[in-house]
Symmetry: C2
Subunit: 324 residues, 2 copies
């Protein structure tokens, strides 16, 4: 089995690679080759029993998708995107990377004869835009309030049409916010959800820019990677013509996050959280989904953490434990 990972340099891409290399199989089949693709050079690949090749390029550029698909990978994980803030700031780049590159990839697959790979695509809960119900159901409409969310919603529609037509076998996954994100604090508006856990655990201060009553939808990086693999192994006949799944997450408030941190790491960790209200972030976050009712994905066996303590423990085990 040959696997192509587009967006292999990102956080999820790298973790997916590690998991594939350690498991050695996908869907019961021995992995024989992995191709990594990204716009920037990804970190060195993990040890593996099979060859891993790496290409760096811009998927929207002429000939790039052709080059990747010419090797006829059996499974394609398409995780590449520019983030919400950048797509909002640079309209043309957002549409080029988040829409055109995806459509080019789909078109190249369609035009390849006698070829029907599995395509796992990461969409986002940004396809939803306020106002929405307290818990968003599987049949709620997509009214994105960002160009990023618009691009993801369009990609979902294309993936569904190309799959219905039989050009490939696609699944689009609306990921919860991945928390605790490893690495440095970043400037994404959602960054604080991870910062207020990761930084105190490393004995550093973190800034909380919103009220503790803010509720959001989380999943650990480990579970997010599990979702990708589960989707690749899913019998897609069960999806019929609705190949977009809102995935389970844990809905919890910032207060609940902080209480979980206290239980796992004690009061001293909690004291490292500084409250510095930021009106811009407060406004952005107020338009975000707080909770979902993802019946369909649950019935297909997708399962998130059930407490934020579990999410913190995953972070400690996967990021803070030596030789893991």
């Amino acid at each position: 089995m040959h696997i192509l990972v587009i967006g292999a340099g990102g956080m999820l891409g790298a973790k997916l690679l590690a998991r594939l290399c350690s498991e050695d199989v996908l869907g019961g089949k021995k992995i024989t080759r992995i191709t990594r693709y990204d716009a920037v050079i990804p970190p060195p690949p993990p040890a593996s029993t099979f060859p891993i090749e790496t290409f760096v390029g811009d998927l929207s550029a002429t000939g790039e998708a052709e080059k990747l698909i010419a090797t006829r990978p059996d499974v394609i994980f398409h995780l590449a995107a520019i983030v919400s803030g950048e797509a909002e700031k640079d309209f043309e780049k957002g549409y080029r990377i988040n829409l055109d590159a995806t459509r080019i990839l789909f078109e190249v697959i369609r035009k390849t004869g006698n070829y029907k790979p599995k395509v796992i695509f990461t969409s986002s809960i940004a396809v939803f835009g306020a106002p929405f119900p307290e818990a968003i159901g599987d049949e709620f409409f997509t009214t994105p309030l960002t160009s990023y969310g618009t691009q993801k919603a369009i990609d979902e529609l294309l993936l569904n049409d190309y799959s219905r037509r039989g050009f490939f076998d696609g699944v689009a996954l609306r990921m919860p916010t991945v928390c605790v994100r490893p690495g440095k604090p970043n400037l994404a508006a959602s960054g604080f959800f991870s910062n207020i856990i990761r930084e105190p655990l490393a004995d550093r201060e973190a800034v909380l820019p919103v009220s503790e009553t803010v509720r959001h939808w989380h999943v650990s990086p480990r579970t997010a990677v599990g979702y990708l693999i589960q989707a690749a192994e899913l019998d897609t006949a069960r999806l019929e013509n609705r190949r977009t799944l809102t995935l389970p997450g844990l809905s919890c408030t910032v207060a609940e996050q902080i209480e979980a941190l206290r239980k796992v790491a004690g009061n001293d960790a909690v004291k490292l959280i500084r409250r510095v209200p930021d009106e811009t972030i407060i406004k952005i976050v107020s338009g975000w989904p707080r909770n979902f009712d993802p019946k369909r994905a649950l019935s297909l066996g997708f399962k998130a953490e059930t407490s934020f303590e579990d999410i913190i423990r995953v972070h400690i085990a996967d990021e803070l434990t030596p030789c893991n």
Copy 2:
């Protein structure tokens, strides 16, 4: 006020032209010029107090949208599309005409400096795909089961994002099935809804390929044109960031259609309907929406016929009455 009608050669386009020419104003402003655009030469324009120019071309071709937008029309009605059956048969043509041409138009508008026209776009209830509730609400998700429906759903998303960004002031209208369609019976799967009324009224036989229990969602051509004008005159601030409207229609069964025909034209007309079940059409129609709950459009003042007799009377008045 300069108005551009893209798709001016179609049934709705021609009726819109006639209405604009007879009213002479749109949104309280005197019409000073109309530009008609279509892929085929439209019928001669109606009499008007202002110049009407006509261009024939392919909106997806290089330079076409630029040519049209260079004249900076104040209001753009974009009605052009290839129909569902053709988009399903010719995948590439469907995406080129129904998606790329629309996106090119939006892009040309965006790139024109200091210009923010009103854009009225006709979408379709084909954005919905079974299974769905008996009456589809305004917040139900779009899971199209045709490439045509996919293309319209994508156009809606683009229109919303371009409007949110301030590039133009758009409204997307999901039209009910327009009935009674004037002209000859056509091969569209939905053709019989009109055929079984129009043909008997003209003393000709018509074929009914489905059961009388089939329920569908109708609006007269006159009301459909009224919707276009109403959308162009709408204060779009009332739409906030949700610029796609499912428009009101009349939900009725074929049996109710036939009873209305009996009341308006008598038993002899009804006897001209021949039942010839067609399994292909029965299967297609079973996946179509039957009823909607379009609260939002109703609250904005959009109003459909309330009985199928009214729809038949509109047909008689507008199509069968000399010198109308």
